[in-house]
Symmetry: C2
């Protein structure tokens, strides 16, 4: 290692760690599952208590459940391999992990939080691109899409309207906007999201053609064992678009990519502003890139992602302060549009526990010249 | 340190750590608050954006907000000192922490998770003993209390009915049961809860006579700054009972304390069974201590507390498996009583984020001889 790496080298390393984490999923989850065989510390009598009358023995019930999880971990890995496939040759020096040999030596061990991101990427697919996610999407995407519809009621006029969606995740919202006829661009920072959205947007051949298992990774808050094993097919809609559509995804830090003033007619954000180190910078950037008369439509809570992270700047404003900051840039909040929506985020639809957000929706308008 | 400590020594040390964490609250929270002055990394222009029109400057707004938090941390410490007061002389060798000198040297530094427990104890007071907690209590205590009422409709008959509430927390549920006329005992394992419930149950002189600030500790998901500063007075009802009442709290591990068969008419549990290393042991114990014909009334989710804790046994059953285990002990589930209740747990009532549980309610009856 040299003392100071170039930005490009740093980015390369970060990207390599992400690809590596995707490839180590099965290895690590199989190890985790072995730990779960703790359950077998139960005696045969206790195991038999787990099953209802007339069923097979508790031992075979547990064995077959763990076996089912193991198979599904393998299926998830097959999908994750297709996601990372285009990038494997980028790192010739990395020991290739053979997904068939689960205890193959690896050069880099994925950290716990990296593996958590792989697992949350699987859940994000369910949220954005499966029919399971439809209720969640309706809660937070519909208010945004309806606002666009109301503001630009004539579909023919939309091909001249440029809409940006920072924090674009797996691209579903930006794609929905493109489908309505707008010029639409999603922007995303996370490599986990970027390589996965690339696979979904560009390689999906068949509606619901791929199945993954996003809810394998927790034994908690389950009503039934089968809830943990549920498969999730995607994409619920093929991400193709009519000819002449203008849809793109951009990679990188929102603040660095979007510096050109007066370029976007609309900025649409969902569960995004609290990913900032300093939300004031985001607001300043949004105000800057909007054309005069342009609108910012937002929905989301204020779960600041950098709060309590040692050494990281984290400016945690209240919603009231955010409204003040927006106004201080000269933007007008359309108060009559402001509303609070209850939104669930990235849940197992059958879980006995859910995070429920009171997401604030608002529309802010940059004054005309 | 000797090579092997007696159980008593171990318990003593654990207890000392808890008292120590209570006493270090102000010291650690003040340090945390200093870190939050990160906010001041904002320039004066940015700070001024935080306030609305006609208000004072952003700098003075932030300064006075942080000052208000600091004062309230001190008030919380005053209360925590009264909680630990009876136990301070138990540890003559420990350096006494002077709450007035926030950077006084301390012998033991409280761990992060210990401090989290002190903060969650403050929130638990709001949940169990303040009017803020009434909606949460109604969600999960009322179904239990109503079931008791329905089963024992004549108040006069209740003085002969022995009701046990394991996982008793700060004693509110057990006290409510005692107030209805039952013989009532709460059992609790956590020293954090035990010393705090002792203070509330035995030293409260005046309704709403003490005020603490349970929601100081997060800047996230706030609508207004004042939501973070809200005070919470307690107890909303004086925990006195009419003469002749039979109410007690017991300390210790449920499985170790309750081994005498056929001794309780009712076991009432709320958000308890998922605190087990092995929930089958809890069910076996409950079945054992109930008199023939006795009932177990339960409400709660399955957020197993020991899941994913390295080296700890954690048997994570689904709700369906739990029902099977209960039946396997010969108990009958009264299916028509089973119901799912939406319950919030220990939230800031104004937070933009809430954990919502689908808590399963059921009644299980031990057969008569």
């Amino acid at each position: 290692m040299t003392e100071s790496r170039s930005v490009e080298e740093e980015e390369n390393m970060a990207f390599q760690r992400v690809v590596n984490a995707f490839l180590q999923y099965e290895l690590q989850q199989t190890q985790w599952l072995k730990g779960k065989q703790n359950m077998f510390r139960l005696g045969p009598k206790e195991l038999d208590r787990l099953c209802g009358e007339g069923e097979k023995s508790g031992v075979s019930l547990v064995v077959s459940h763990l076996q089912s999880i193991k198979q599904r971990i393998n299926t998830n890995q097959q999908f994750l391999n297709t996601v990372t496939l285009p990038y494997e040759d980028l790192f010739p020096n990395q020991t290739k992990i053979d997904p068939q040999v689960t205890n193959a030596p690896t050069k880099i061990t994925a950290y716990h939080d990296e593996m958590e991101k792989v697992k949350s990427t699987l859940r994000q697919i369910a949220r954005e691109w499966s029919s399971y996610g439809a209720p969640e999407r309706d809660q937070c995407f519909l208010p945004l899409l309806n606002e666009l519809k109301e503001r630009y009621p004539t579909p023919e006029s939309r091909s001249g309207i440029r809409v940006l969606n920072p924090g674009g995740g797996l691209g579903r919202l930006a794609w929905e906007i493109a489908r309505m006829g707008f010029v639409s661009q999603g922007n995303e920072f996370s490599f986990y999201m970027l390589i996965t959205s690339n696979a979904i947007l560009n390689k999906s051949k068949e509606q619901d053609g791929t199945t993954i298992y996003p809810w394998l990774h927790s034994f908690c808050n389950l009503l039934k064992s089968e809830d943990q094993l549920k498969g999730c097919s995607f994409p619920d809609e093929l991400p193709s678009l009519p000819p002449g559509s203008d849809f793109s995804m951009s990679a990188g830090d929102f603040l660095e990519v979007y510096t050109e003033p007066n370029t976007w007619d609309c900025v649409v954000t969902s569960f995004f502003i609290d990913t900032a180190h300093n939300v004031i910078d985001y607001i300043e950037c949004i105000n800057n890139i909007l054309v005069p008369g342009g609108v910012w439509i937002n929905i989301g809570p204020l779960l600041y992602h950098w709060a309590e992270m040692p050494g990281e700047q984290s400016v945690e404003l209240t919603f009231e302060q955010i409204v003040n900051v927006i106004k201080s840039f000269g933007m007008q909040i359309q108060e009559e549009k402001s509303k609070t929506y209850e939104c669930i985020y990235n849940s197992n639809p059958n879980s006995m526990m859910n995070l429920v957000y009171s997401a604030e929706f608002f529309v802010a308008v940059k004054p005309k010249l």
